[in-house]
Subunit: 136 residues, 2 copies
Amino acid sequence: MQQLQRFSIQQSNVDCDSDCIHPAAVTAARKALGGAEPADDVAPLFAVLGDPTRIRVLTALSAGELCVCDLAVATGVNRSTISHQLRVLRDHRLVRRRREGKVMYYALDDDHVPELLATASAHSGERNDERQERLA
Amino acid sequence: MQQLQRFSIQQSNVDCDSDCIHPAAVTAARKALGGAEPADDVAPLFAVLGDPTRIRVLTALSAGELCVCDLAVATGVNRSTISHQLRVLRDHRLVRRRREGKVMYYALDDDHVPELLATASAHSGERNDERQERLA
DNA sequence: AAGACATGTGTATATGTGTACATACGTATA
DNA sequence: TATACGTATGTACACATATACACATGTCTT
């Protein structure tokens, strides 16, 4: 953390180093941040979703459960990579698995996932709505 | 964030690659994936949200607009870092800025952001209701 | 115009992480 | 039990990137 300079008695008015410009706004922001730092909870989740391969896996699973082999074929990704990413997704409770013989079937574990994907897609879609028409 | 990979589904090895276990499921998954590869649109957005500092910035801004200096104080992050991250957020149309004299005021630019944060928080909250160990 | 101040950016470094090879594990079948 | 096969993981490498220092830019004040 940076050192805090102590020249606070200068004009009691606007000095960004000693005292922030809008103390009321800062306190409101601190309140919004909360003491528990929710960033440490949601940021890792978003980080998991921030990989194209994992998004492809989740999107593929949105059509229904798939085994690892099918996932690899559908997404065109190495099976080893798929397994690694499935483990990441499992650790974050985004997918669940079910064994049937020697085949593992993976499925979405959370209704939040399609919701997040839809919202993010809407945001990206708005950005791309420069002159993009829906294609038949 | 990483660059997308070209993938061809012609990894004809021996068994599982040439003929997947459930061809119908694979075609359904491919249909869900779509030809336009939505992963390349939403994954970068999630990647942006996957950083604790940026989440703190967005959360702080959810209480109202703030200048860079106040953001740095509220989040406890170097002003230079704040500026860098604000640029990233700006590039993805997550925040907008407004100049007033020599002070730049930043605000959330999209209603999707609070929605995404809420959904992600709900997911994390459900996870924490059970006994879940985070990996460092 | 010059100085002060808030903000933006170039750059270097350290940390993180996605990928794939090789290999181990678990289950089913002969 | 032994073999085959789908899945999981250890490991190493390449690449992305978050951070902070130093400096640049833009605006207001004197």
